[in-house]
């Protein structure tokens, strides 16, 4: 069934179809309509879940951690400062290996206060041990939420589904809502091997000393470092699982299938743009305009940010002449985080392109397609070298070049 609705409602339908059992969330712009829709679903018996209103985002994720530890499929959603308020619990959820799914409706971070879109919120949480997926349109939002539950439960790592505030969350687009029976066949009911069980009392994630030692049965129990090493290696292995899930989804629902990168006119492109979220779709127009003018350009939208698909990046970009990374986030005092990751991935290649960084759209600053065209064109014409310092697009400073 096709419907025309907002990105937030698309996400809510994804959660409904995934049969989440516990939902705890605190409203924050631009995430609010998502949780309102979910509470409607619960109230109207369209979703058999416990909806737990909480007094903060820290509590929202704490409730999800408890629910997931007790063996329930848990969901939450937030934005910006709300996500940052969860920070401690984000690390906890990942370290405890709880398959929670969370939508992050991307918004800039205060101060100064902003409610508009950029990626600083989720990018700043990249090292919490959560898998991060970025959606580019409404169809990807609903599909990615369903896949995210599958992925989280398969690899026992929590997953963030990130999508752009307002640009996607509040705009209306047609998208397909999959049949609930088909989703039920695709996504099995929640099952968890290790959860709290009153019949077999146990302490989960208690204080763990630096050295590993024997448990009460005399077996060697893993120490902190072994458990954290396991999180890392499982993150790496989860990339193959994501690809399998995408293929399974594609064969069942006949769409999707871009696990890591979604390329547009990249096959023969000398210069490629890399970016995340809805910006990559906006770039399709810029690429079309430049192709008409004879420029050999393409755009690649990164769907999976953590774990970082280095080998995919190498295969896709090492033979290009140039790569321009457009980012709505910044590691202050250094450069864009994605830019640094991409350079790092390409370092081991014998042949590699020049790589440049462009920061744009912070705090909802409008991104004009014509500006994308001009910025990309000048990068192509300069036949540039790798520049560590990012350039800024759309900055309104007097006397600026």
């Amino acid at each position: 069934m096709h419907i025309i609705e907002s990105g937030n409602v698309a996400a809510a339908h994804g959660v409904r179809l995934s049969r989440a059992q516990v939902i705890a969330a605190y409203p924050i712009t631009p995430q609010t309509p998502l949780t309102e829709k979910l509470s409607e679903f619960v109230e109207g018996n369209e979703l058999q879940a416990e909806y737990i209103p909480v007094e903060s985002e820290h509590s929202a994720l704490s409730v999800c951690i408890a629910a997931s530890s007790a063996g329930a499929r848990a969901f939450t959603a937030t934005s910006a400062n709300g996500l940052l308020y969860m920070n401690e619990q984000l690390h906890w959820a990942a370290g405890a290996r709880l398959p929670i799914v969370m939508c992050v409706v991307n918004r800039g971070v205060g101060a100064p206060w902003t409610i508009w879109n950029d990626h600083q919120d989720s990018i700043s949480q990249r090292d919490t041990g959560w898998i991060q997926l970025y959606a580019c349109d409404h169809q990807q939002i609903i599909d990615t939420v369903i896949k995210a539950f599958y992925l989280a439960e398969a690899v026992k790592i929590p997953v963030m589904v990130c999508y752009d505030g307002y640009i996607l969350s509040h705009t209306y687009m047609p998208f397909q809502v999959p049949d609930s029976d088909a989703v039920e066949e695709f996504l099995p009911a929640f099952s968890r091997e290790y959860c709290l069980d009153p019949e077999n009392p146990a302490n989960l994630n208690t204080v763990t000393l630096p050295d590993s030692r024997d448990n009460i049965r005399g077996e060697k129990a893993p120490g902190y470092m072994e458990i954290r090493h396991g999180l890392h290696t499982d993150m790496r292995k989860s990339m193959d699982v994501l690809s399998d899930i995408d293929h399974a989804f594609e064969s069942k629902f006949q769409r999707g299938g871009f696990s890591y990168l979604e390329n547009y006119r990249c096959e023969d492109a000398d210069y490629a743009v890399v970016c995340m979220g809805s910006l990559s779709y906006q770039f399709h127009d810029a690429v079309d305009i430049l192709r008409e003018q004879g420029y050999s350009v393409g755009v690649s939208g990164l769907r999976l940010y953590r774990p970082f698909p280095e080998q995919i990046v190498r295969d896709a970009f090492s033979a290009r002449k140039g790569l321009i990374v457009f980012e709505k986030a910044l590691s202050y005092g250094n450069q864009g985080a994605l830019f640094a990751d991409i350079k790092s991935a390409l370092y081991s290649c014998n042949q590699r392109p020049f790589v440049q960084n462009c920061i744009l759209g912070l705090g909802g600053r409008e991104i004009k397609t014509q500006d994308l065209v001009e910025t990309l064109k000048s990068a192509c014409e300069q036949e540039g070298a790798t520049q560590d310092a990012p350039q800024w697009m759309g900055l309104q400073l007097e006397n600026s070049e």
Binding site: R97, K156, E193, Y194, N203, I216, R217, G230, K237, D240
Partner: protein
């Protein structure tokens, strides 16, 4: 779907002696029960057992006389503080002849 095994290592500890290691070595002062004053000892009845109830590490037994497992007792002194008849005193570990115990 790939056959990888996930979450091989997790923090999962069952209740039982020694899950936190042999914590008796942490002790600086040890509780010693005076059987002349201890209520269950004096009355030879299942009575009181405040020490058993309040020990945070569960190392006091509900026997007559109550036995303290020094392998795991950390010497916190709650039992001595709470004993209604003052039958438990905390004794410096250094003053105890190791061969005696």
């Amino acid at each position: 779907m790939s056959e990888n095994k996930f979450c091989e290592f997790k923090s999962y500890s069952e209740p039982g002696p020694g899950d936190g290691g042999r914590t008796g070595a942490w002790r600086v002062v040890r509780p010693v029960i005076d059987k002349e004053k201890c209520i269950p000892c004096k009355k030879n009845k299942q009575a009181c057992f405040t020490c058993w109830l309040l020990c945070p590490d569960g190392v006091v037994s509900k026997d007559i006389p109550p036995a303290i497992d020094y392998e795991y007792c950390k010497g916190c002194g709650i039992c001595a503080e709470e004993c209604p008849v003052g039958a438990i005193v905390m004794v410096e570990e250094t003053s105890i002849d190791k061969e005696e115990c």
